[in-house]
Amino acid sequence: MRLFGRMVLGTVRDMAPVVLVVLFFHSIVLGQPISRLFPLVEGALLVVAGLVLLVYGLELALFPLGEALANALALRGSFVWLVVFAFLLGFGTTFAEPALTAVAAEAARAAASSGAIDHTPESLERYAFGLRFVVALAVGCALTLGVVRIVFGWPLPPLVIGGYVLVVALTFVAPPAIVGIASDSGGVTTSVITVPLVTALGIGLASSLAGRNAMSDGFGTIALVLVMPMLFVMAYGALLSWI
């Protein structure tokens, strides 16, 4: 109970900057009456309640579950299982991610308005579905690469910087309309559920393998999740424009 009380206080403190920024710009910079902000109070209280439960739940469930699973997979010693699991986790969570579904629909409308595809519902849906599939494939590959990297102890910088170089090269080949969508797709797929899970998996795996360090080997998979969708979506866009 005391822990819970401390968490409520901590969350109120974490939310304070947001409230102060809105208050400052609303009342001091714009000189608006404070009563116009009253409709937002309800939402702000919901945010605080949600954050308390969410952070508490993440530490109670997702971190232990992710680390226990990584430990068990590493002890089992089956490399194939590990790779299959990583790919399925990445592909499945991304394909079902509501934020990605919303962005894919918006991207289809953007593509239609720029004349890349027709304005019919079918072609919009096909475009959005294709985009979701490609991003999910990219995240599946990113998690697989992340796990393989931890197992073999490959250094991360060449992978990430190499990915950046490829992204830059592709921006000159891919149609301009897809560059913005592709660049955002990495950040959109990292959700509050997947980030702690993937982090816990990396830490658990690195700490149960001999010769791996949780700090320098366990992290880095999220970075691949950011780069890989950029690459895949741009390549997909370039391919579509050639066909």
Binding site: G57, L65, L89, P196, I203
Partner: protein, 258 residues
């Protein structure tokens, strides 16, 4: 009563988000690997907290943060922004840049994934990496990225030039920064752009693109998240580099005082 109904439907959506992942993990752990789940009650309760907490948070963000962002962008814009013929210079939007920086910094501080990861990093590093230091460095990166993203949309600079510039800085820092921190630093961008930051960034991007007659709200709204999730690597690496510099200087000074 409306609130209860909205909460109920949001809860349904977050359950669809959490349950498949959780049941997949539990299936692999308990059935495929035949392990017994330690403290199963905690894990189940925790998953419940995550589902309910996420629903409350999404609803609250939708009711408070998103409308606040939209409202502010509209009110803080220069008076002639809507006028295509006046072509306001990109510097006349300085109040929007300032607001964008402050609100995204504040949002990233409140980001639950960043908080959870920063705490885990603090434990793993034996206290060497400060929780608040990491959160502030990451939040500054998100804020800087989004502010640059706003300037880009107003000035009409193509996104790929901004990305090239960001990648170049990261590449230079990769060579000079301490190696241990690199994976964590690359990760922070994704860690700090989840459930609180992304809606705020979306509100800013959408509000800004609607404001400018020369911009297509659909096409120019994209690219903001990309800036928000690449720039934090720069600030976290800079934080590590400054910490290393200070430590080196302190070490050099110590022998003299002996």
């Amino acid at each position: 009563m409306d609130l209860m109904r909205e909460l109920w439907s949001t809860l349904g959506e977050t359950a669809k988000d959490v349950l498949p992942v959780a049941s997949f993990m539990l299936f692999v752990y308990c059935v495929v690997l035949r392990q017994k789940l330690a403290r199963a009650r905690n894990v189940i309760a925790g998953l419940g907290f995550v589902t309910v907490g996420l629903a409350l948070l999404l609803l609250g963000v939708d009711k408070a943060l998103f409308p606040a962002g939209r409202m502010m962008v509209e009110q803080l814009s220069p008076a002639d922004a809507h006028d295509a013929s006046a072509a306001p210079s990109w510097t006349s939007f300085h109040l929007i840049y300032l607001f964008a920086f402050c609100i995204t910094f504040a949002a990233a501080i409140a980001e639950p994934a960043l908080f959870a990861v920063a705490q885990r990093v603090n434990e793993l590093s034996g206290g060497a990496i400060n929780t608040w230091g990491l959160r502030i460095a990451a939040a500054a990166g998100v804020a800087l990225g989004v502010t640059l993203g706003c300037m880009r949309v107003v000035a009409g600079v193509p996104l790929h030039w901004c990305l090239i510039a960001v990648f170049l800085v990261i590449a230079v820092q990769t060579v000079t920064a301490p190696r241990v921190i690199l994976p964590l630093a690359y990760d922070t961008g994704g860690v700090s752009t989840t459930v609180v930051t992304v809606p705020v960034v979306a509100a800013l991007g959408l509000g800004l693109a609607e404001l400018l007659p020369a911009r297509n709200p659909l096409l120019d709204g994209f690219g903001m998240v990309a800036m928000a999730c690449t720039v934090p690597a720069i600030t976290v690496l800079a934080y590590a580099q400054i910490a290393m510099l200070l430590e080196n200087r302190a070490r050099r000074r110590r022998p003299e005082s002996d």
